[in-house]
Amino acid sequence: MKVTNITWRIGGEAGCGIPAAGNIFSRTFSKKGYSVIDHIEYPLLVKGGHSTYISRLNSGEIFSLNRDINILAALDQRTIEMHQDEVIFSGYVIYDGEKYRLKDKVNIRKDINYISVPFQRITAEQGLLNIMISNIALGASLALIDYNVDNAVDTVKDVLSGRERETIEMNSRALEFGYKYIREKLKIKAYELEIVKPDAKLLVTGNDAVFLAGVRSGCKFYAECPAPQSYPIHDSFAAVEDDFNIVARNSEDEIEALNMAIGASFAGVRTMVTTSGAGFSLMGEGLGCAAITETPVVIVLLQRPAPAAGLPTWTEQGDMLFSLYASNGEFPRVVIAPGDPEECFYLTGRAFSIAEKYQIPVIIILDKYLSESHFTFAKFDMKKIKADRESIYLSDRDITGDYFRYNDTGNGISPRPVAGLKKGMHIANSEEHDRYGFSEEDAHNRKRMADKRFRKVGGLLEEIQPPVRYGPVNADMTIWGWGSSKGPVLEAIRILNSQEKKVNFIHFTYLYPFDREIVEKYINESSKNVIVENNKTAQLSKLIALYTGYRIGNKILKYSGRQFLPEEIVESIEKIE
């Protein structure tokens, strides 16, 4: 069967090499020009437990995963139990029929194909390690797609480059044996994937994109408190510390991480900290400190289902309102929720520029789905990230006479120098202060400083990108969403519009400042509205009501710790009508 899309899921006990195999699968296709989106699901355990990886590849453009699986590579029985319902009509399940017999437990579906590949026996016979089982399954899967296994072998060599030759060789062998078992022994060919132009695509996660933009933006100090949520970003920075003159730091807690970043930023470098919800809950103090001292800092908040520790390896959009109002008192900030890794890249670049120009904290919100799923893109445009510090910082030449650190300027921005300049000496003060920075309790001064800080909002409104409308201008229904649900909603409206339902989508990346004018325009142009959010309390709908007074009545909310699938959205939308 000729297809343009293949969705593949591999699952099993952790320890069978699932993350690596998933990554190889995705990368093998992205290298050859296919669009790929993948996602990994794993429990909060270092070893053991059940884990799955899903990868969707397509010869055209895709925005998210989909529900229907073409090939389910089940390394254990539980994977079949949990996921065989997702297998598409006449799809395939690969399993080890020598290890467990289907009939014993599984409710066998008549409409799909179960194909036994003796993972365990091959592993034993070939002297492979347990962790390579998934590679056998991967090889078998490629055979089903009739895809040249050499491409995957190349990927393995790439991904494992630097590792011992034997490791690479064994991994490759596992791939090849799985492949051959299907092709030569069983002689099954399930799908034939449409061929695309073999232009290698970038395959990056949200985390990768944030990291890359951080490096490009000239971030010189990065810190986190060790956490499963943020260590991919930390490790990326740590690996390039010397190449790019960056200090990447594991702090003892989030309090140190943010305060060190503020200290470094005060001295004059661009800084970033990453954290997830519980860690962000400890950062309120530092956030306020950055705000009143007007010290730029970029904070990346990697959302997880909460409250408290919640579900650290799953996904949710639960921290929007918290990030908007975190910390005591009132001050301007910018909150950005990118919708995909491409937006992660460009918006992280913007975050650094805005933070530095406006001397404010900027918060970038991701979630597990966006952080850890790979997406393909043609390339990143470097021109869109420019670190133009020279026009922002004062030099000794600029300063004549008294220097007012908190000068009450028209746009609220008070230019500052990096530390060490002869003429630019100043203090940053977390107490209310006068224009020099000296502590000052006077009522008029207080009002003046608060006004000065908030005057920045005017400029910020020019900088930010208003919500974007996707789909037809005139639609019967408008979906509203933010951040990482962008992909599933885009897929959903593609399906809906192909069914002759005119649905469009307003997607927010910047959450604060709020561009009321454009939102009101969108509201006026929409007839029926529905909120789609990956949380329980519909936080975006609250934000919209707060600023525009418009309350969106229809809500599609998911808060099981799992990202939306486009099909779910389509079904929910259909129920509304």
Partner: protein
Amino acid sequence: MREEYRLKPSDFNTERRPTWCRGCGNYAIHDALKKVFVQLELYPHQIIMVYGTGCSGSGVNFLRTYGFHCMHGRAIPIAAGAGLAAHKMTVIAVSGDGDIMGAGGNQFIHACRRNINITCILVDNHVYGLAGGQVSPTGGNDYKAGSATRVISVQPINPVSLAIASGATFIARGFSGDPLQLREILKKAVRHRGFSLIDVLAPCIIYSSVDIYGYYRRKIYRLEDVKSYDRSKKAEAFEKSLENDRLPTGIFYKVDEPVYEDTLKQIDRKPLIDHIISDIDINKLLNRYY
């Protein structure tokens, strides 16, 4: 870096006059700082001072350098961050006992063990001065301090012992009533490469018994006067730090150990703040993602 003018202590004055109570230990510390800066030929713009919250923190208004007045207990991480970014500058954290030993205890022990290259002046008055005179973590039962309604017999933190246990490489105790020694210590501390702590007994005359200076004078002796004392021995320094009948001042411990900043190749060539970042080429990096 020679400067065009000759430094004098008053170069470090701001237009604001100190608001501390007369007799407060903070005066001696600021005085010592200014004199030491002059001796070391450190110009105001070569120095970053970080202040915690509290009476000592208001010093941000009175000392002319680059300065940061931070949140309760956070002087050390702010200083550490500033120091990393501008490691050619002299970075000094000045903060209270309530601050550093109360809220900031965690940052303190980690700064010690990392041996980051800053100087920490602990303005130790045994009370949360600005917060209302409550007994601070260093406040003991040896003299009445603070506004406690009842004396709770918990052991005070001994900053010197704690710093030794945590791995600081320059550890001293000073007394605001002994300005000469304080200056000597301070000078050495600023010069020391690595984390230096000076626990300065700096009486709060509001929340201490009136003769607190006399009390200290009777109790204190100088370590310099103990010829046999070897300040390079950790266990010995620790034992010394436990002395309580009579209080040693001076340098308890000083060793040269790897400095955090020195282990960082990425700041070897020049300070982080000096890098030009306008067009950083990440294409090679990007290739890994294709």
